[in-house]
Amino acid sequence: MIFMAASPPCTPTPSLLRMSRISRAFGAQQVLREVDLELAAGEVHVLAGENGAGKSTLMRILGGALAADEGTIAIEGRPVRFRRPRDARQHGIAIIHQELSLVGPMSVADNLLLGHEPSRAGWIDRRAALGRARGALERVGLRLDPRRPVGSLPISSQQLVEIAKALSLGARIIVMDEPTSALSEPEVRRLFARIADLKSQGCGVIYITHRLEEIYALADRISVLRDGGLVATRAAHELPAGELVRLMVGRSIGEQAPRRPSSEGEVLLCVRRCRVRAGAAGRRPVVEDAPLEVRRGEILGLTGLEGAGVSEVLWALFGALGRRAEVEMEIDGRPARPTSPRAAIEMGIALVTNDRRRSGLVLSMDVVENATLAALPRLNPLGWLRRREEVAQTARIAGQLRLRCASLRQCVSTLSGGNQQKIVLAKWMATDPRILLLDEPTRGVDVGAKHEIYLLMNEWSARGCSIILSSSEWPELLQVSDRIMVMHRGRVAALFRGGQATAADLLRAAMGHAADE
């Protein structure tokens, strides 16, 4: 009996990877709470969860890009510790992102062998390199000339090159994060066939997707994350779709968003057609079509999972996508063409983007300069800055928003997330807009600021503004919106009345399930 303790633990299927009790916090926000994840050789393990459930954070920890606060990772039973992405790669972990990490102008062979070129006395052995590249490509079923530049290949082939690269570096644990978001149906099928090959070669695959049909086409097991915690890990055939959706959304509703009477004004904004081409050639359009109507004083919720095209619709209506977007719309019954953000602002449209540090604030400027940036022409019609008026107006708006800052001349980079978001809102309050496009306005702000932002939205709608609110926080979206439009793969998938839908309804529609069953 004593000898039993010393012998290696015996499991029915060999465990390739075991992540145990992984926790991670960003500041005060706990994004992962004691998550366990296990991957067997030859298994496809689907990681499911809503936006912000913690999937990406968990995979960044696995990839060595982020350190866990607590928890351990073991590969084939041996504990490992990753300090940087290279450590994870050396242990056979490869992460295939939506944005590929290939060098476009370089040839397929050079990309495959980057950093591991076969060489003789410092000279690259071209023939050996090509031979090795061909071998690596064969493993993923790609037949093409390895001397072609990677950038000239379709995106699906580039993805396979990336997988071939991972395999040639000895990867046995392959993480795919939404790999099909830019692929057409035949390409998706080709990728799935390759995933089946990987399984038969003894690799383990962790697959992240938002599409139900993909989950059930691929998964051996499914783990569901919700609000940073692991809710369940089950074999795919033991977890029907309805149950999966229930597990994904079944969370407690935190801060109650304030309710207000819904209004029945006339239509202020009517979008007849909205199409957005993809940034790169050859990909499917990001938004196929998203016709919508918003009434005066109405809050229209707009949501979808990542890649559904929600943000792009808002940007297109604001004229911020230039020629990529084709929009036909009417404001107050008159045709309007927002060709640039400037034109949109003059029409009374405002856009709060979902990333205030990247596209909302000028971090090198102070509170007043940021809060007046969009309203400068109206504040200073002659082009001469009226600094006293600027300060007075900012102080007035800051008071309404209950902005906390030491001085209005403080650099905005020193403020907290909630206060930064209030400055973005202040910037648009100064332009006195009629139509507000809010893209995740409560992302990354504390509960108090969140509540204030919802109060502010109610105030705006009471004044007759139309609001389109995009949010992935569905309980709040359900509370605040009069109607909710759900998008899936660039199209409108469903439209719900605010009081009548549940988070499960939204999720089902967003994942491409028929609305009524």
């Binding site: 940036l373 082009g383 800055l385 030491a406």
Partner: protein, 346 residues
């Protein structure tokens, strides 16, 4: 501070403040470090005064005069750098304008009220062309203005036939006569207030004031800072990004033209090689002042301090008869030291 509704005045007083914070903030400000660099150079002057030459007023007058052409270029450069761009063409535009101004004033006998605006327009057009390419086709400013640098130099040599445009005029019979130096040349090269202040220095200071008005008092200036700080946020706030960039480069061109006028007047000729390498000095001045090459931070006051620092450094080295070669190497060291000093702020 309670969580309830607060009055406006209270709302801003929420964060704790310490009494030493403003002092520390002042010391850490770019202005303070730029001043520190200038004081360091001036201290060098007192230490190595070149047998008392540094204590004479005329030395300071000449230091300012000699730095003025660079300073004028640096004013224009400041606009461009604040938008996170760069303009390598200002030295060549200076040469082009010097040639054009000399040709128009000496050989074509244009009156100054025609020749000066024409030259400013020429410089502005060169800058605007660069700006258009940068803004519309999104080519890196470094490349675009490098091309403009080569083009403007070539145009200067074409217009002048590769020769200096001087007051020597060839007559029909082949003999050379000296044309009179145009009045505008003599005016720009003169000194006012009992010989105490050079006109060129006054032009430089006017450029500083004009730049300050644009950057700190006009909407345009605010837009330039916003573009340099976060171009995407600026665009989404309705800032006409393309137009503002064109304006910044056009201003750099106009200021380069002003510098070209001064250069021509001081040399009493239009040298197609004039201004060679001046763009690098102008960039050094702006950076030593503390305007960030990343854009969005800095100002014209810093450029003034940078001009004085470089100008005095050069003067001090020359009154001490430091040879040209050592001067260049010392200047390089000072540039790196000044920038290291500034880096703490970013």
């Amino acid at each position: 501070m309670s969580e309830g509704r607060t009055e406006e005045s209270e709302a801003f007083a929420a964060a704790p403040r310490s009494t030493t914070a403003p002092l520390r903030a002042l010391l850490a400000s770019p202005t303070a470090t730029a001043l520190l660099a200038l004081c360091f150079v001036l201290a060098l002057g007192f230490l190595f005064s070149g047998d008392g030459a540094f204590h004479k007023w005329t030395t300071h007058r000449d230091a300012l005069r000699q730095a003025s052409v660079y300073g004028i270029l640096a004013c224009g450069m400041t606009f461009v750098i604040i938008t996170a761009g760069i303009d390598l063409s200002v030295g060549s535009v200076l040469g082009l304008v010097a040639v054009t101004f000399s040709t128009l004033s000496i050989h074509e006998a244009w009156p100054p009220w025609l020749a000066v605006p024409a030259c400013l327009a020429l410089g502005g057009a060169c800058g605007a062309a660069s700006g258009l390419v940068v803004a519309k086709w999104r080519i890196q400013p470094f490349i675009v203005t490098l091309a403009m640098m080569v083009f403007a130099r070539g145009l200067a040599k074409t217009l002048s036939g590769g020769m200096k445009v001087s007051t020597a005029v060839q007559q029909a019979d082949g003999s050379w006569t000296a044309a009179p130096v145009p009045g505008i040349f003599r005016l720009i090269d003169s000194r006012l207030l009992g010989d105490n202040v050079s006109v060129v220095s006054l032009i430089f200071l006017s450029c500083i004031v004009l730049s300050w008005i644009i950057l700190s008092r006009l909407r345009w200036g605010r837009y330039l800072y916003a573009i340099g700080g976060n171009e995407e946020a600026a665009r989404l706030s309705g800032v006409p990004v393309a137009a503002m960039k064109v304006m910044a480069y056009a201003l750099a061109g106009v200021f380069a033209a002003v510098a070209g006028l001064c250069q021509a007047a001081q040399e009493q000729q239009g040298d197609p090689e004039a201004g060679l390498g001046y763009e690098l000095t102008a960039i050094a001045i702006v950076v030593i002042g503390g305007t960030s090459l990343m854009g969005g931070r800095g100002g014209i006051g810093l450029t003034l301090l940078g001009t004085l620092t470089i100008g005095y450094l050069d003067k001090i080295l020359s009154v001490n008869a430091v040879p040209e070669a050592s001067r260049l190497m010392l200047t390089a060291v000072i540039i790196i030291a000044a920038v290291l000093l500034q880096r703490r702020n970013h």
